[in-house]
């Protein structure tokens, strides 16, 4: 009777996801293979597609490392802040999340544009104007901005659980701040950093709106290519195949990082 009730409660959600999530994904995989493995041969046999895949991985890797470098100190300060300061820090971090990625990318377009903030500042000090839009740098900075909150929140969650007594004990035993950080704080927050990195990397692999708005033909990434194949070229089968390659790449990264977590954490 009890098991029956549980099934009745959880059934609708499971059925909905089977119908609205697993079903479509299976169908898309089938669709990409409808004419044989041709589309996959085309992807892996063409240096253009391989370069796009490599560029996507490189961009996601760089953005993840940059988000880690910028986000770790933020998480450290956030986890140790108290009361009023903590509220301000959280608000600063979460405010951009509440603003659409289209709007945020537009904001960066205004900052990097020809008559934007950076060029106005350069002009003020007498330096020549720069064409910063349509560059990997601008796209990377905007993506770090979009994804930073996910990194910080993941790391801060593990830092909050850290027992302050551990650090106090180390301090009593004469360890200086840097040693305390290297031997206590860093290893114990590694789990959060890895979680944040996985999340940021996966989200970055799927980000195409920012790249679409801020880049041009020279800055192509895999998800944008998928979107263009579908909406511009109208080649559904090839778009599905590219989408499956993207999915496989993301899943491979998850798997690799799950293994890394298992070996890193005792």
């Amino acid at each position: 009777m009890r098991r029956w009730t549980a099934a009745l409660l959880i059934g609708p959600a499971v059925l909905f996801l089977v119908g609205g999530f697993v079903g479509p994904l299976t169908l898309a995989l089938g669709e990409s293979l409808r004419g044989g493995i041709g589309p996959y041969v085309r992807i892996f046999g063409d240096s253009y597609y391989l370069e796009v895949i490599a560029a996507t991985l490189a961009l996601s890797g760089t953005v993840t490392l940059a988000a880690l470098a910028v986000g770790y100190p933020y998480a450290l300060i956030l986890a140790r802040a108290q009361g009023w300061a903590k509220t301000v820090l959280l608000f600063l971090l979460v405010a951009p999340l509440l603003v659409n990625v289209v709007v945020r990318s537009f904001g960066w377009m205004v900052i990097f544009g020809r008559s934007g903030l950076v060029n106005a500042a350069l002009d003020l000090v007498g330096l020549p104007k720069l064409d910063l839009l349509n560059s990997w740098t601008a796209i990377g900075i905007a993506l770090v901005h979009v994804l930073l909150p996910f990194m910080v929140l993941s790391i801060a969650a593990t830092l909050e659980d850290l027992d302050p007594a551990l650090e106090e004990a180390a301090a009593t035993l004469g360890a200086r701040p840097l040693r305390r950080f290297i031997h206590i704080v860093a290893p114990l927050s590694l789990h959060g950093a890895v979680t944040g990195a996985i999340l940021v990397f996966a989200l970055c692999m799927g980000s195409f709106v920012t790249v679409m708005m801020m880049g041009d033909n020279r800055t192509m990434v895999l998800p944008l290519l998928v979107y263009q194949q579908l909406s511009v070229a109208g080649d559904g089968v090839f778009a599905a195949a590219l989408g499956m390659v993207l999915l496989a790449t993301v899943l491979a990264v998850f798997w690799l990082q799950a293994r890394a977590v298992r070996t890193l954490t005792p």
């Binding site: 549980a6 959600a13 999530f21 289209v102 692999m205 799927g206």
Partner: protein
Amino acid sequence: MIRRLYMTLAGAFLLAPLIVVGVVAFTSASFVSFPPPGYSLRWLTRVLADPSFMRPLANSILLGLAAACAAAILAVPAALALARRQMRHAAEIESFLLSPLSLPALILSIALLFYLSRLGLGSGFAGLFVGHTVVVLPYMLRTVLAVARGVDPALEEAAHTLGADPWRSFIHVTLPTLRPGIVAGALFAFLVSFDEVAVALLMSSVGSMTLPVAILNHVAHNYDPAIAAISLIKIVLVIAVLLALELFFGLDRLMLSRARR
């Protein structure tokens, strides 16, 4: 000292694009530049009177409400089952229900496009509704589950001992204790749907276009301050929803403590 410098830079980095958008919305110029040459309300009034922005805004609100309601109907019973009953494979079912979180939404979007056209539903509101419900369901489930796990099962047992049938104890005991989680989850779900671009971009037709897609289309064709103006309106709406939640939760807590007394 280093900490203060770092925080100033990080804060500036986080807020810079938002401030820039907010300022450009009030420009008097007909082009986008920062800092603007002068200030006026012309772009804000123009956008508020423009149906090509206002209709997508209405669509977005409707879609967000529909997806949040559907997600609540599916996720609340599921969360109860996962939190209470000793179910076999509970961990596996939970990670399955949360799995749409880790998939790039674009892939889901393409898959849904094939699937719904096969089913004859096509794009339009139905496709958007299904897609957004899949996307927001994990957020809803996670929030309700967090609250449901913290609820004392003794409450329901007490209701049972006092002779309440399962339905009555659900309505009078379980549902009220879950309410903060359901409200917060639904609000979160609404905000996620209101913000979602990847599914909306592929699924929406001219009639069912959502606001982020309308803004994106506008940027592609004309790079003008109207984008900043509609963005500012969107930011203000999101903040209003959050303030409403804060207010609601404050009131809710007040009422709860009074009931306890």
